[in-house]
């Protein structure tokens, strides 16, 4: 059964599988070694580790070198400072908010965080700053939390089922009743254990015995989860009722999952259990690897991450034709860049990372950079790459998903939407990345008559272009947007206040358009030149990361926020563009809530850049399933709903409706 007391801190020593041996960092090649210059101004400083540890102290021969000289030597200077942000945010005022969020200094509106408050926003595209990782490593290095829980008990189950408060009580009562039945059955059968009963008992008793054993194992694991969350400082044990998956524990679990980038959304599934079973230091090390991958990829202007095939060793993995006449595999530059950066920092293990962070002070992260010999860019790289995009909509169902009796009909998909970025090289299209994305489908939508209908919100097919990239885009809510979520309570200058909620509109990581968007435009060439039409579809980052695992959008093609920023930073690095700057929106809307008036003001639509020339985008129809070959236009009444209007109103087709439209964007 679950622990009934405060989480024990004297639990047995955790036994975790020994980590695979990691290669020791390689010494710096002589050709890359730069002279030590201790008196450089902060903006010109970078570090180099000129060899391996010389003595038992683990102290590495680290020196400060000239960042400009490092670049001149062909090294890449990877920014490890807390002031880092992806290049796509340069120029946008949201950049400072991003930096504050990453360093646990500010909230989504740029206001200071309360003391002890933390942001866990990696799943939303904001990796923690290195000073945040330093804090985690140095606290976790003490090891108290690693000894406070039993990893084996956590890994003895595949999941821990959880319920809401009232169902949880019912399930616990059922478990007790089952235990009583099984005691009687044990005695009657003369069996010496529940395992034996599970094998020899009648079908129902055997099922009961298996379920009982499973439930017991889950409750034991649950008690370890409680200890784990409390010892990591995510759950206040005084506010938690032991054995219950209450609000305090759910909130802590969400924080834990977001901290470790586990997408279980408070469910306790295998990925969560594995993360819980790892020592905090191992988890910190995984976070460091993710953060350094992002920093190195942005520093080099790389994008290839091994996503264009199942395995780079697969003979079918995509290749390109080299100048040497041979075919070369499209490289996985993410892994190679991470390995090179870790090597340059002298880090191979979590303990190396602890040693690295012990050598640093918080102030070092105002300037810290490292000079790294990254893999050379592939030969198809240039400042003006011939890029194009293909979006495959995957399996598409146009049929209404309910039958005449109002029963939902299954619409299974085997092929999911994918976005592929190509470069044209030697007459061939070479895929660089292939990522999951979303397409539109049947969605509930609030119509102008105030009632909710179904509507097929599809993704346009055919040739389009990306002409504008919008950083920190703003979603203008249509007039039909419900007001319920437009007010929130938050801390403002030392007190809590009700304020207008700008989370969904942006700019910000919670914006319906994410932190960056590219507008899909239809280009028509005429006698007066090209004309462009915006049908409201965008490729954009998204805070709604679960939607990328199989849900539908309103027609837009969503990407994980960090991948969207990586993609469009890469585009800026390898295409010509000009800054348009903030595009005025002049939106102002007053509304009433609980005796007060709130104004929503959206001065601009985001920070625009114009690609010159635009990037071609081809949206493929995908594989049509079902009976219809064209989508149903307009609103369709929801089964089982009685409508006041005899006929549904006309559906709006504004770009804003495509992204939002009354429910989860």
């Amino acid at each position: 059964m679950a622990s009934r007391g405060a989480p024990a801190v004297s639990a047995p020593v955790t036994r975790v599988a020994p980590a695979a041996p990691r290669p020791r960092p390689q010494p710096l090649p002589t050709a890359d070694a730069l002279p030590a210059l201790p008196d450089l101004p902060p903006e010109r400083r970078a570090i180099q580790i000129a060899g391996v540890a010389q003595n038992d102290s683990g102290q590495l021969p680290e020196r400060q070198v000239d960042a400009d000289a490092a670049r001149a030597r062909g090294l890449t200077v990877v920014d490890l400072s807390d002031g880092w942000a992806p290049a796509i945010l340069d120029g946008a005022s949201y950049r400072s908010v991003f930096v504050g969020l990453a360093a646990d200094r500010g909230d989504g509106d740029g206001q200071p965080l309360a003391s002890g408050e933390r942001n866990y926003l990696e799943l939303y595209g904001i990796p923690p700053a290195l000073s945040v990782l330093r804090r985690r490593f140095l606290i976790d290095a003490a090891g108290a939390c690693a000894r406070a829980f039993d990893a084996d008990t956590l890994l003895a189950v595949d999941q821990i089922r959880t319920w809401g408060a009232s169902t949880e009580q019912k399930e616990l009562a059922r478990h007790q009743a089952r235990a009583v039945r099984l005691r009687a059955a044990l005695a009657a059968a003369g069996a010496d254990s529940l395992q034996a009963l599970a094998e020899v008992g009648d079908a129902r008793t055997a099922r009961d015995a298996r379920e009982h054993l499973r439930f017991e194992a889950e409750r034991l694991a649950f008690a370890e989860v409680e200890k784990r969350l409390a010892c990591e400082g995510l759950m206040d044990a005084r506010k938690h009722k032991p054995g219950a998956y209450d609000t305090e524990m759910r909130t802590a679990m969400l924080d834990f999952q977001q901290k470790q980038t586990v997408m279980d959304q408070a469910d306790i599934k295998r990925a969560t259990l594995e993360a819980l079973a790892r020592s905090p230091k191992e988890n910190d090390f995984l976070a460091l690897r993710r953060v350094l991958t992002e920093r190195a990829m942005h520093a080099a202007g790389f994008i290839e991450d091994g996503s264009v095939g199942n395995s780079i060793s697969d003979p079918a993995y995509p290749t390109y034709l080299g100048a040497d006449g041979a075919r070369h595999r499209v490289p996985d530059l993410a892994t190679a860049s991470l390995d090179a950066t870790l090597n340059a920092l002298g880090i191979a293990t979590p303990d190396d990372a602890v040693a690295f962070f012990r050598r640093r002070t918080r102030d070092d992260f105002t300037w810290l950079k490292v000079a790294v010999r990254l893999p050379p860019p592939p030969e198809y790289y240039s400042r003006a790459m011939d890029l194009s995009v293909e979006i495959d909509r995957g399996d598409v169902w146009y049929d209404f998903p309910f039958d005449a009796a109002g029963v939902r009909q299954p619409q299974p998909r085997e092929r999911f939407p994918q976005l592929t970025l190509y470069v044209k090289w030697h007459g061939e299209r070479v895929p660089l990345v292939r990522w999951r994305t979303t397409v539109g489908g049947w969605r509930g939508e609030l119509a102008s008559d105030g009632q909710e209908y179904y509507r097929y919100k599809g993704s346009d097919i055919g040739p389009r272009v990306w002409r504008h990239i919008v950083t920190a885009p703003v979603w203008i809510p249509p007039a039909t947007s419900p007001l319920g979520s437009m007010v929130k309570e938050k801390r403002v200058a030392g007190t809590y206040a009700r304020v207008t909620n700008y989370d969904e509109t942006g700019p910000g990581y919670m914006s319906a358009y994410g932190m960056v968007a590219a507008i899909h435009e239809e280009m028509r060439k005429g006698p007066d030149g090209a004309r462009f039409a915006d049908n409201g579809i965008r490729t954009h980052g998204s805070f709604d990361y679960p939607s990328l695992r199989g849900r539908f959008s309103h027609g837009c093609h969503r990407l994980y926020n960090q991948l969207a920023m990586r993609l469009f930073s890469f585009v800026l690095e390898h295409r010509r563009w000009r800054v348009t700057g903030p595009v005025a929106a002049g939106y102002r809307r007053a509304f009433f809530s609980k005796g007060e008036v709130f104004e929503m003001r959206l001065p601009n639509r985001g920070y625009y850049r114009e690609l010159q020339p635009p990037i071609p985008v081809e949206v493929l129809e995908g594989r049509l399933k079902g009976t219809l070959t064209k989508p149903i236009a307009g609103y369709v009444p929801k089964p089982g709903v009685t409508y006041v209007s005899r006929r549904p109103p006309k559906a709006s087709d504004t770009p804003e409706d495509k992204a939002g439209g009354g429910d989860t964007p």
Partner: protein
């Protein structure tokens, strides 16, 4: 599970009466190298994030809040009373937006936001209860409970 094993171990020890008698003498154990645990490394004092730098390195912006002066409208930003409108607020350029509340006698509190990326003038309209009837989301105030009404 481990606690149960621990309890079993105690019970076994109790049954054997091991605590009551001297343990049998054994050969002196070879002197083992005692691993001395390193003393815990003290945590540095600078683990928490540095305070937000609010210096106006990028210059300042001026936001003018314009309200009919006869309204005597008080502008507050959280706990801070910024004064009676019309007023000018000077903030570091590019600093966080300000969520402001404007309160005037006879008017409903108005919440608005001032952005700090450029100089701006906000002309604010205050709403009386009667003016607010046309606003989206309007709901009339709940009637005051009658003194004779039964209490729920």
């Amino acid at each position: 599970m481990k606690q149960r094993l621990f309890a079993v171990a105690i019970a076994i020890a109790g049954c054997s009466g091991g605590g009551a008698k001297d343990p049998p003498r054994a050969e002196p154990a070879p002197v083992a190298e005692v691993a001395v645990a390193p003393p815990p490394v003290p945590l540095p004092a600078d683990l928490e994030p540095a305070p937000v730098d609010d210096r106006a390195d990028g210059g300042t912006v001026t936001i003018k809040l314009v309200v009919d002066a006869r309204r005597q409208a008080h502008v507050t930003w959280g706990r801070k009373d910024l004064g009676v409108a019309p007023i000018e607020i000077v903030r570091p350029r590019g600093s966080a937006p300000l969520d402001l509340t404007i309160q005037a006698p006879g008017c409903l509190p108005l919440h608005t936001r001032a952005f700090t990326d450029r100089d701006d003038t906000l002309s604010l309209r205050l709403y009386s209860e009667r003016d607010a009837v046309g606003l989206p989301g309007y709901a009339p105030p709940a009637p005051a409970p009658s003194p004779t009404a039964p209490k729920k």
